[in-house]
């Protein structure tokens, strides 16, 4: 109907708000569904109050990614009170609409699964749609869980505190004997209110909060944040800085993937790979620490560039250590993928179909294991990725094996990428000054973190301060994939399925 009213733009640019037309909700709905039918997926979807006044309307923005065109489409509308839910026709919006309901007291009419997401008070002065009292903090996990009734049907509840050294979350299984009929995941225990703290910025504390949005993705989130400020201030970091960021991002991927493969091997009782990989993961982290002093890359990526140079002796150290690490990594990982007893446990466990993955809007490793080609290094490249990445790793079966094997192959691909990046590390500065942020503008930033795409979106006010900052961690999409993978599986396979996704609780909760 209204194709002409869409704003299409590329990653790395900012769009003045006046250029984004205000659609009626009916137009917005129709355009969004048309776009999704034409192969777009929802990268981000969020609201912001039009003004500070009580009862102000809420503006909704949809960021749709057209991967193969390398384009992003923007849609904007206004609502107040309630609006017809889009979830029944576009399931990948289910959590985004629940978020809107929780944050702004809006009611998406007809939402099939309207429950709180993170258990906090509404962000604006409005009545809570679940009728929770304003005077007290909501109780986490206090919601109606989906229940199955019948003879020999039982319910298993796990968490928030888990048995290992793991973040908190609550899992509710509906079981018939060993078989899981349904798993419902309720999070929010790690909710720190990061998006709210970023309003009015950029503040000096912001980058540290974003590095700790999901601590195992510090480089991913810090890169997304830096790219966003660079887009909004029409500046670009020097090429050398971009390459160092790319190396750090691949090191983060290596550390986590190697660790995950070790943990998967451990979960099926294959101890050699589990112990070797535990050590190797640390060695990759230590390499990041050689670069910036922190095993998690804290302090490396900064708006405008990077904080540390990779030069002289250190460059040599990198090359030598990587050579040894590659040999040990291949030895440790191949052992497990050559072992029939391991493969027998991986194959066919926890499958997610390609259709489900697409409907739920999965991203990253979880999506690529289901045959979906989704990798923002390929589709939405920025910096040193432009033209430098053409090998997304795809598996088709969507089971634990596929997710493990995507990691397995990505480990080797990342090692290769780092070698190339080190070889063509450009000279020059590592940081450039950042200008003031463009006022009344919107920018989107994507970064392919090790779990999948990290999407940051910011809208500035008339003075060029952050008015709304939206973070979408890959885990936000992918927790639904984990729930789906458990259907019809044995409950004893939950740890294995969970590890094969290895999602972030704090990245979801923010």
């Amino acid at each position: 109907m209204n194709r002409a009213t869409l704003v299409r733009f590329r990653h790395g640019f900012s769009v003045p708000l006046v250029e984004i037309p205000q659609l009626s909700y009916a137009q917005f709905r129709e355009s969004l569904l048309e776009e999704v039918a034409a192969d777009a997926r929802v990268s981000a979807y969020f609201g912001r109050p039009v003004s500070q006044e009580k009862g102000a309307e809420i503006e909704i923005f949809a960021i749709l990614a057209h991967d193969w065109r390398g384009e992003l489409a923007l849609l904007r509308t206004r609502v107040s009170g309630s609006f017809p839910s889009l979830t029944p026709e576009c399931p990948q919006l289910h959590l985004f609409e629940r978020e809107l309901a929780e944050q702004f007291g809006l009611r998406p009419e007809g939402h099939p699964w309207l429950k709180p997401v993170r258990f906090h008070r509404p962000w604006v002065e409005v009545a809570d749609i679940w009728g929770r009292p304003q005077s007290e903090h909501p109780i986490p996990g206090d919601m109606e869980f989906y229940r199955v009734a019948g003879e020999e049907v039982h319910e298993v509840a796990v968490g928030p505190v888990h048995a290992g050294v793991i973040e908190p979350g609550h899992f509710r299984f509906q079981c018939h004997g060993e078989e899981v009929m349904h798993l419902e995941i309720s999070l929010g225990y790690q909710y720190r209110g990061i998006e709210q703290m970023l309003i009015g910025g950029p503040h000096p504390a912001d980058i540290y909060q974003l590095e700790a949005a999901a601590g195992d993705t510090s480089i991913g989130h810090a890169t997304a944040y830096s790219q966003l400020l660079e887009s909004l201030s029409y500046s670009a970091p020097p090429p050398r800085a971009q390459t160092i960021r790319a190396i750090a991002l691949e090191l983060e991927r290596l550390a986590n993937h190697v660790g995950d493969i070790g943990a998967l091997a451990g979960d099926v009782g294959f101890l050699p790979t589990a112990s070797f990989c535990g050590r190797l993961r640390g060695d990759y982290l230590n390499l990041t620490a050689e670069l910036c002093g922190s095993r998690f890359g804290r302090g490396l990526v900064r708006p405008g560039g990077v904080g540390f140079d990779l030069n002289g002796e250190l460059l040599q150290t990198f090359k030598e250590r990587l050579k040894g690490l590659e040999r040990d990594t291949r030895g440790a990982i191949d052992l497990c993928f050559d072992s029939p007893s391991v493969l027998a446990r991986f194959e066919g466990t926890g499958p997610v179909s390609t259709d489900d993955a697409e409907a739920l809007g999965l991203v990253g490793v979880a999506a690529r294991a289901c045959g979906l080609v989704r990798d923002s290094r390929l589709h939405h490249p920025l910096g040193s990725w432009a033209g430098g990445f053409d090998t997304p790793i795809i598996e088709l079966d969507g089971d634990v094996f596929a997710r493990a094997n995507v990691r397995h192959r990505e480990v080797y691909a990342s090692l290769e990428l780092i070698k190339q990046l080190l070889k063509r590390l450009p000279g020059g500065e590592i940081s450039a000054p950042l200008g003031p942020l463009a006022p009344d503008s919107l920018a989107v930033s994507l970064c392919e973190g090790w779990r999948g795409e990290v999407v940051h979106t910011a809208i500035t006010d008339a003075e060029g301060r952050i008015d709304r900052y939206k973070i979408v961690d890959p885990s936000f999409h992918n927790w639904s994939g984990l729930a789906m993978s458990l259907r019809g599986q044995q409950i004893s396979d939950f740890p294995l399925c969970n590890k094969s996704f290895n999602l972030s609780y704090c990245g979801f909760d923010l």
Partner: protein, 250 residues
């Protein structure tokens, strides 16, 4: 089977000789801060004002740093003012919250437990870990202690799956409003006598999230703490050093 044995031999023995041999940390590692001497009031004032997490204060004309609030930032603005620098010393744990305040006197590291507690826990310490708003970096670097490099088990320390099996609780994260009751219930479920260890800047004073209304300012606001381990996140050796000091093994 043969390939497993061959790979095992090739990977070699990787357990570090800690604590007999000190670890080699990266040159750029940021450990115990060193406050510079003879700072002018202007420099102190500028440094104090520059820290976004109020880790610096002016203590009767002398600069003081609170290691519980310090995130050991790479781009610490106080360094730019010439007020301090970071050393390579990874040993940071303290028994007391006030012990984390560093001024010109030597930093006092954690002491071992009292005689009775040491008799109970000195040879076997079982801990329950509760993540209460952590970003998973502290958790990841505690998990690392279980790998063959650190081999935590050889010191008699183990993380257990139930508070009923635990002698104490190791807390990470600032304690979000949403984790408060789960944390307190876990604590209540641990048999007496019990220890509480706050690991990481968040659990000591709220870390990077200290200004959020959704979090508490660390576990010390809610429970008595026996050991504070600074860092964002603390290096695994910082954690291990703290635990061993508590048990009188260093």
């Amino acid at each position: 089977m043969l390939s497993i044995i061959r790979e095992r031999l090739r990977q070699g023995h990787r357990t570090a000789k800690f604590p007999k041999v000190e670890p080699t940390l990266p040159q750029r590692f940021r450990g115990l801060p060193r406050l510079h001497e003879n700072l002018t009031p202007e420099v102190i004032g500028a440094a104090v004002a520059s820290c976004p997490f109020t880790a610096l204060s002016n203590n009767a004309g002398e600069l003081r740093i609170d290691l519980g609030r310090c995130l050991f930032c790479a781009d610490c603005p106080a360094i730019a003012h010439g007020a301090l620098s970071f050393s390579n010393d990874y040993r940071l744990a303290s028994n007391l919250r006030e012990g984390l305040l560093l001024d010109d006197e030597a930093y006092r590291l954690a002491d071992k437990l009292g005689e009775r507690m040491l008799k109970l826990f000195g040879r076997s310490l079982k801990l329950r870990q509760v993540s209460a708003g952590g970003c998973n970096a502290c958790e990841a670097d505690i998990n690392v202690l279980g790998t063959l490099v650190f081999d935590l088990g050889r010191f008699g320390i183990q993380f257990v799956a139930s508070p009923r099996h635990a002698d104490g609780m190791l807390v990470t994260g600032p304690v979000t409003e949403n984790m408060k009751s789960a944390l307190l219930e876990t604590y209540a479920a641990i048999p007496e006598p019990k220890l509480v260890i706050a690991s990481g800047a968040c659990s000591i004073a709220g870390g990077p999230f200290c200004s959020s209304p959704e979090v508490n300012q660390g576990v010390g606001e809610l429970l008595p703490v026996d050991l504070y381990i600074p860092g964002c996140p603390p290096h695994p050796y910082t954690v291990l050093d703290g635990l061993l000091r508590l048990l009188g093994k260093r």
